[in-house]
């Protein structure tokens, strides 16, 4: 299980992040101030830290120094939209930053990107009789290899990493194809249809009216 430390003094925001990360299959812990965060990472190891900048006792930049000492990748959470602060954080060695207010999908995507960069995502994903090895990018169903295009493979990974989550068409488009979603094309729908057919997931990938799709477990 991947462990994430959330350092945030605003209790509602800390709970919000925890709730969503837990649902996405991560294990989470909350530190309400900088000092506690510094103490916790001395005692236990974490795979990632989400770090607020304006914190009581020790500020985010100071906590970042502690995190670097024990090799924990850090994503800054910042309410200050100022470029300087972002640059300062990144220069000091943060992996990424998320500006408040943020979309949950954005939060999860950035968490996953950083984890992948550190190869801390689970390399072996299993769903029903489907097995995915992210290292060799191979998909097996019932012991037989399935031939998927790159986009279909990315789409499958997205569904498996967001089980039970309603994925908006724009979210799907942006994370698989990249770029701005125009809202007109049928690309997303066509690819989802093909993926359902290839893997026999008609029962599990449900279309949500006017929204997108959800992988039901």
């Amino acid at each position: 299980m991947i462990k994430i430390l959330i350092v945030e003094d605003e209790e509602p925001i800390a709970n919000l992040i925890r709730m969503n990360l837990v649902k996405a299959g991560y294990q989470c812990e909350i530190a309400p101030d900088g000092e506690e965060a510094a103490n916790i990472i001395q005692e236990r190891t974490f795979d990632l830290m989400l770090l607020d900048i304006m914190l009581p006792k020790l500020n985010g930049y100071e906590v970042l120094e502690y995190a670097k000492a024990v090799d924990i990748p850090v994503i800054f959470l910042t309410a200050m939209g100022e470029t300087q602060q972002k640059v300062k954080g990144l220069k000091m060695g943060a992996e990424d930053y998320i500006a408040k207010p943020f979309d949950i999908a954005e939060l999860l995507a950035r968490v996953e990107t950083v984890l992948r960069r550190y190869q801390k995502t689970e390399r072996h994903l299993v769903f029903l009789d489907i097995e995915i090895d992210t290292d060799s990018r191979t998909v097996m169903q019932g012991g037989h290899p399935v031939d998927l295009t790159t986009k279909e493979y990315e789409l499958l990974l997205l569904f498996l990493r967001n089980k039970n989550r309603a994925l908006y068409r724009e979210t799907i488009y942006e994370s698989v194809w990249g770029g701005e979603y125009s809202g007109r094309g049928r690309t997303v729908d066509l690819h989802v249809q093909r993926l359902k057919k290839k893997l026999g997931l008609e029962e599990h990938i449900a279309a949500i009216y006017k929204v997108g799709y959800r992988l039901i477990v």
Binding site: D9, E10, E11, P12, I13, N15, L16, I17, M19, N20, K23, P32, M54, P56, A79, M80, G81, K100, P101, F102, D103, I104, A105, N164, R165, A166, L167, Y168
Partner: protein, 496 residues
């Protein structure tokens, strides 16, 4: 052309012309009087000669007269006198020379002017660059007596004086001119300093000052310049502070806005994307509601602050004991909930201001005291009539503040303990609002605190009757009093 050269070229010629005219006049007057003296002396000499001549001639009998020549006669009284007049001539009625002292012969026309009424005349004649005064008179014997005197010396003197005077004028004028030039250069150096400083100031070097120690108009101008520069610096500083305060406020406000917004957007996003259990959904909804409320209270407080800044104070006399009792009624419920005791005491007295706004100040202050106090503690509100006004003190037994916290507590959105303030429902604007209202009432306040020993806030109001100049003086006295008190009490933040 530079001012110094202008003045030099104007004053020097004027000086020269004026001095020349004046000097010429003096010399001429002098010369005229010398000449007149000389002429008079010659007249006297001529008269004496005539007298001697006539006396001698009268003394002679007719026989003797016919035998004696004029030369003999003249020589006889010359002998008697012991010396010669010199340059004397005696002419007969037909202009024939009867006697002559020397060979000097000068043409003149005095005899033409002599008649029965005027029997003496004189003329000043130039002969070969020598000047002579010639006096001629007609004796009673019908012959003419002419005496001559060389007065070239007087003319030479005049010429001499002229040339010496011209030299003097030139020297004085050039000396004066150069001293004007020198003085002006000195003055202009200061002027240049000033103008250089002004240019530098205009180019944005605002700390430039002029060092001129002269006690003249330029010195005063320099002082005025420095004074203006200081005043402008102070004003700019004030404006900059104001801008900075505004920027800080905006930044803090954006931060305060983003925090509840993040929760609201995040929980709503979660709810629309996820199938949640009823408990989870309730929790999300509760967070959205509470953070929404927080935004609401923030916007209310902000509105109040803006209004307090714009509002004209609806000033009325307020009786303090009555006013404090009213506030006690409003706050007592929330204090009882936390088992806090409120002691209110007030001396008879009046303050002048908007009842609603002032009430919100003291409700805010008491509310802050409530938030800072543990259950079972007490809060005191004390009103005291002072010679120059009225003071109301709010004192608690809460956790107190550090000096660095004390200096910042009236800043908008500053919260000593953020998470606790949030739990108590604070937006961090209470004291900022109080400060605005107190400023609006021309009041002042001061804080005294020690960590763990509570906080004491003194709010001072001026007397209502005191207005204008007197009012300013009162405030100055009050400020001085505060400053003095501040020195005794140690750590105090005075904000006005």
């Amino acid at each position: 052309m530079k001012l110094s050269w202008k003045l030099f070229f104007i004053t020097t010629p004027v000086f020269i012309i004026f001095l020349t005219l004046f000097g010429t006049w003096i010399i001429q007057e002098n010369f005229q009087s010398s000449l007149k003296q000389e002429v008079e002396r010659c007249m006297v000499e001529n008269q004496m000669f005539q007298n001697s001549y006539e006396l001698t001639k009268n003394a002679l009998s007719e026989d003797q007269l016919e035998q004696a020549s004029v030369r003999k006669i003249v020589e006889s009284f010359y002998r008697r006198k012991g010396e010669a007049y010199g340059n004397a001539r005696v002419l007969g009625a037909g202009w024939e020379v009867l006697y002559q002292d020397n060979s000097l012969h000068i043409e003149h026309h005095i005899m033409d002017a002599l008649d029965s009424e005027h029997n003496v005349g004189y003329e000043i004649v130039q002969k070969e660059d020598q000047f002579y005064v010639i006096v001629m008179c007609k004796s009673t014997f019908g012959d003419y007596i002419e005496t001559t005197k060389n007065i070239t010396e007087i003319f030479d003197d005049r010429t001499d004086q002229y040339s010496r005077y011209q030299l003097g004028v030139l020297t004085v004028a050039s000396l004066a001119g150069f001293s004007i030039l020198f003085v002006l250069f000195f003055v202009m150096r200061n002027m240049k300093k000033l103008s250089r400083a002004t240019r530098q100031f205009a180019r944005g070097k605002y700390d430039v000052r002029v060092m001129i120690r002269a006690h003249d108009e330029i010195g005063t101008l320099a002082e005025d310049f420095n004074w203006m520069a200081n005043a402008m610096n102070m004003q700019m500083q004030q404006l900059q502070n104001e801008v900075q305060r505004q920027e800080e406020f905006t930044a803090a406000f954006a931060h305060e806005l983003k925090t509840p917004l993040t929760s609201i957007i995040g929980y709503a996003d979660t709810m629309r994307q996820m199938e949640l259990s009823p408990e989870e959904r309730d929790m999300c909804a509760d967070y959205i509601y509470r953070q929404g409320k927080r935004l609401q209270s923030l916007s209310y407080k902000l509105l109040e602050m803006t209004l307090a800044g714009k509002q004209d104070v609806d000033s009325k006399e307020i009786s303090v004991p009555e006013f404090l009792q009213e506030i006690q009624k409003i706050v007592c419920v929330s204090l009882e909930e936390k088992q806090l005791t409120l002691y209110v005491s007030a001396q008879e007295g009046m303050i002048f201001g908007d009842r609603e706004l002032l009430a919100s100040v003291f409700i805010n202050l008491i509310d802050n005291a409530r938030k800072a106090s543990e259950p079972g503690k007490s809060i005191w509100v004390t009103g005291m009539a002072l010679p120059g006004g009225y003071s109301i003190v709010v004192e608690d037994e809460g956790h107190g503040l550090l000096p660095e916290e004390l200096s910042r507590i009236a800043e908008p959105f500053y919260m000593v303990d953020k998470s606790r303030a949030r739990k108590e429902g604070g937006a961090g604007l209470g004291l900022a609002l109080c400060r605005k209202i107190i400023e609006l009432h021309q009041g002042s306040w001061q804080f005294e605190s020690e960590p763990g020993k509570g906080l004491r806030i003194t709010v001072l109001f001026g007397l209502p009757e005191v207005t204008g100049r007197k009012h300013k003086r009162m405030r100055r006295i009050k400020r001085r009093e505060l400053a003095r008190k501040g020195r005794h009490a140690g750590k105090i933040g005075v904000i006005e």
